[in-house]
């Protein structure tokens, strides 16, 4: 169970990333953030975001049109 959940469904680039950055500030270091998104571009974008910022992508799943990312706040 993630420490915080961010529902970014229906939002388009770059809002899911901007909201994720904001939400991560409220997740303690070592904690996890679960992000739900429907933007297909978010798959590549969240991977790039994690690689660049040093946060860790723990899990990535897709259910129907909804992408679910679990990001560990390590940066």
């Amino acid at each position: 169970m993630a420490d915080k959940v961010l529902d970014a469904k229906g939002l388009n680039c770059p809002l899911p990333i901007l909201k994720t950055k904001k939400a991560l500030k409220e997740v303690p270091s070592g904690g996890t953030l679960e992000v739900l998104a429907t933007d297909p571009g978010s798959v590549a974008d969240f991977a790039a975001f994690c690689r660049t910022t040093g946060n860790q992508m723990v899990e990535e799943t897709q259910d129907g049109g909804v992408y679910r990312f679990i990001i560990k706040h390590t940066a």
């Binding site: 770059p14 809002l15 990333i17 950055k21």
Partner: protein, 175 residues
């Protein structure tokens, strides 16, 4: 004008060793307002120190009340999804009064429907994430604007201010 003070907003990598980017923003129409604000806010979210330099028509993006328009005039590639097709508009029609206003309404409706951020939202996000926004002094004189007309939190500067930022930056864009 002082260079931007390294922010401590908690952005990853932000601070003295952070990567940095500068963008010269020269256009103030609704469609051209997107690339600079999308890149600036996303870069800031990824821990990049960002400076935006607003000059000529880009300066209007700093006005307190935004009134952004889009025009199909001279834009052969602008085709809107309508009735299951993509419909463009001949230049001669774009010159008819009211057509720009109609195109702007259509574009804003599409933006809302597709979950795309408004420019107001992106600009707010840029302010929140400490993007350094510089208004071009010369353009302000030229078009008779004062800092009173602009949103708070911006700085005013000229080409040398931009150059100082650009010389240190990892990415410099002209949009």
């Amino acid at each position: 004008m002082d260079a931007k003070v390294a922010n401590d907003s908690g952005a990853a990598g932000s601070g003295e060793n952070a990567k940095s980017m500068s963008i010269i923003v020269t256009k103030g129409s609704l469609d051209w307002a997107y690339p600079p604000f999308i890149l600036a806010t996303t870069a800031a979210a990824m821990g990049v120190d960002v400076t935006m330099f607003f000059t000529f028509y880009g300066l209007s993006l700093l006005l307190k009340k935004l009134d952004l328009q889009v025009t199909p005039l001279g834009n052969a590639a602008m085709k809107m999804p309508m009735m299951g097709m993509h419909i463009g508009m001949p230049n001669i029609m774009s010159m008819i009064p009211g057509v720009d206003a109609g195109a702007t309404v259509m574009m804003k409706n599409l933006i809302k429907k597709k979950g795309v951020a408004s420019i107001e939202e992106l600009r707010e996000a840029a302010v929140e994430s400490d993007v350094n926004m510089v208004a071009c002094q010369m353009t302000m004189d030229l078009f008779e604007y004062t800092t009173e007309d602009m949103i708070p939190g911006i700085t005013v500067g000229g080409a040398a201010t931009y150059m100082e930022n650009a010389l240190k930056a990892d990415i410099n864009l002209f949009i």
